[in-house]
């Protein structure tokens, strides 16, 4: 199979999920005797695109144009579909990021392709791709077969392994970019970053605070622990609904579904909506003074006790370990 991977960059930095998608695309190509071709879209992306060979891309293409410097849903979807057609791609892969989830459905319609969003597994059985994707925020998993000639899959970040680079580089080949004004019907005119904040959907470590923290003023210790671990701060729905933390941090069925390596739930009881959003984390730590809290049922390690004592001690102990 010919696999086309749309490898997302932001600020000329390839996203980790882009590397994961390239590595996964290569694995699919190897299993089916095909080729993995990576595509990077933007302006001035040549150098970063070149490094995708190290993650398994047989070839690297770039759509490099001033009109593509800022993300445009319509233009990116068109280019992905046009390149997939020109390359006769059987499968199009990309990360299920804010950008991937935004443009993949449009690219799929253009390609008359079936779409499997936010996949957590992708294998080949009898020469056919079988994708697994969570539904009901992870309360159930579905196996998906796509019956169209071209198939589009978005891959949940942090689930597939990117591995480490072999160090190989490729010389990216430019694809021609011909965009009309209509193709640029949406265009990003600016971004506002929550300064220095890591997003829960991308973080490898998340420290989440719940209502048991009693008030927004007590999230300082959560931020500190997350900072020492190089992770992101998460929040339960109760905390967000109470206005203690912004909605971007909400983990759960009406927030973000996350799968970090380490999820530390502090004073979170573990409502079913919350568990659905985080129980696929690789390791879960629960700190709660209620030994019957449902969060302990999904936790790998738990401490039954007072978060106000345990979290600062955990921060200190982690600092010691990491030599910070």
């Amino acid at each position: 199979m010919k696999i086309l991977i749309f490898a997302e960059q932001r600020d000329l930095q390839l996203k980790k999920h882009a590397l994961e998608a390239v590595r996964t695309g290569r694995a699919l190509a190897d299993q089916t005797g095909g080729e993995a071709v990576a595509l990077v879209i933007g302006q001035g992306v040549k150098n970063s695109a070149a490094t995708l060979a190290g993650f398994g891309a047989h070839r690297v293409l770039i759509a490099d144009d001033a009109k593509l410097a800022a993300y445009s849903t319509t233009a990116y979807a068109k280019i992905i579909a046009d390149v997939a057609n020109a390359e006769h791609a059987d499968v199009v892969l990309m990360g299920a990021s804010a950008m991937g989830k935004d443009c993949a459905p449009r690219a799929a319609v253009r390609l008359e392709a079936g779409l499997a969003s936010d996949c957590i597994a992708c294998t080949v059985e009898n020469g056919e791709i079988v994708a697994t994707r969570p539904v009901y925020a992870g309360k159930a998993l579905t196996d998906i077969r796509i019956s169209t000639a071209v198939k589009v899959l978005t891959l949940r970040p942090n689930v597939f392994s990117a591995g480490t680079s072999s160090g190989a580089t490729a010389t990216p080949a430019p694809v021609s970019v011909a965009l009309t004004d209509a193709d640029l019907a949406t265009v990003v005119t600016g971004t506002s970053k929550s300064a220095g904040k890591m997003d829960v959907a991308e973080a490898d470590i998340i420290v989440t605070g719940g209502r048991g923290l009693k008030g927004p003023e007590n999230f300082g210790m959560i931020e500190e622990l997350a900072g020492v671990l190089g992770g992101a701060v998460g929040a339960s729905r109760a905390v967000v609904d109470a206005g203690w933390r912004p909605h971007e941090e909400q983990v759960g069925q009406t927030g973000k579904t996350v799968s970090p390596s380490l999820y530390i739930a502090v004073a979170v009881s573990g409502a079913i909506q919350h568990l659905a959003g985080m129980s696929s984390s690789k390791y879960i730590v629960a700190i709660n003074k209620d030994k019957d809290a449902p969060i302990f049922q999904v936790a790998d390690y738990g401490i039954v006790g007072d978060a106000f004592e345990i979290v600062p001690a955990l921060t200190q102990e982690t600092k010691k370990l990491l030599g910070k």
Partner: protein, 248 residues
């Protein structure tokens, strides 16, 4: 302005999911269905745009008769008209998008709103697919928007921040929590909604592009280890995370 809110009827987020007899869908027995939480923001945004600019709001839902309950909620919130694209058979996201796009095309709306995803299939695909089918721009996961004539400046949530997107109507938007505070239906609205007619249309069948071959519950985890019951357990927890789990 002519505004369309595409809404879905989904299991309440407090539902404990169990797998149905077909092994491909959930067991719906005893499950409470509600208006998809994100769709409330879509309906509210339509109502606010109408209040400001005048016009009409149509709520449309694809599904069986049960979806009328959710359409009545939209009527109670204040939409002018409710339409059921009546089809009880399972549809993939493209087949849903196709039916909605066909309906919308005939209406020539200024804007079409969705919730950012349905909390059942979690595809987040139908909105942008409808936009592509109609040749309209789309902005997803919108948390803020300003409409000035046909010019729109919208903010969408991205990883660790927001993205400001400029586009023009007619366009498709998918709403994220934070875009607005959905109103509660008034008692008067609820009573009036009961007697309103819900238009029924039979959408054309569309071949599925994606098949669910199996549905299962995720592997349940073995009960974890309670490392301790006070602060003295912290060094052992850190050791386990470092040496056993190797995550720090």
């Amino acid at each position: 302005m002519k505004l369309i809110a595409c809404i879905n009827h989904v299991p309440d987020t407090a539902t404990r999911v169990s797998i149905g007899a077909d092994g491909k869908s959930i067991d719906r027995t005893g499950v409470t269905f509600v208006l998809n939480p994100y769709d409330e923001f879509a309906v509210e945004q339509c109502l606010r745009l109408k209040e400001k600019n005048g016009g009409e709001v149509i709520a449309v839902s694809l599904g069986g008769d049960a979806h009328k309950e959710t359409l009545r909620k939209a009527l109670a919130m204040g939409v002018d008209k409710a339409v059921l694209l009546k089809d009880d058979s399972p549809r993939d996201s493209f087949a849903v998008a196709h039916a909605l796009a066909e309906y919308a095309k005939a209406q020539s709306p200024d804007a079409i709103f969705f919730g950012k995803q349905s909390v059942d299939a979690d595809d987040a695909a139908v909105g942008p697919m409808v936009a592509e089918l109609l040749g309209m721009p789309s902005v997803t996961v919108v948390v803020k928007m300003d409409v000035n004539g046909t010019d729109v400046v919208a903010e969408r949530e991205i990883e660790g921040g927001r993205e400001v997107v400029a586009t023009k109507l007619p366009a498709v938007f998918t709403a994220q929590k934070g875009l607005n505070e959905p109103r509660y239906p008034s008692l008067k609205g609820i009573m009036a909604a009961k007697s309103k007619l819900i238009e029924e249309i039979a959408p054309a069948a569309v071949p599925a592009r994606v098949q669910v071959t199996a549905m299962r519950k995720p592997a349940s985890k073995n009960p974890g280890k309670i490392v301790g019951t006070d602060v003295s357990a912290v060094p052992e927890l850190v050791r386990l995370l470092h040496e056993e789990a190797r995550v720090i």
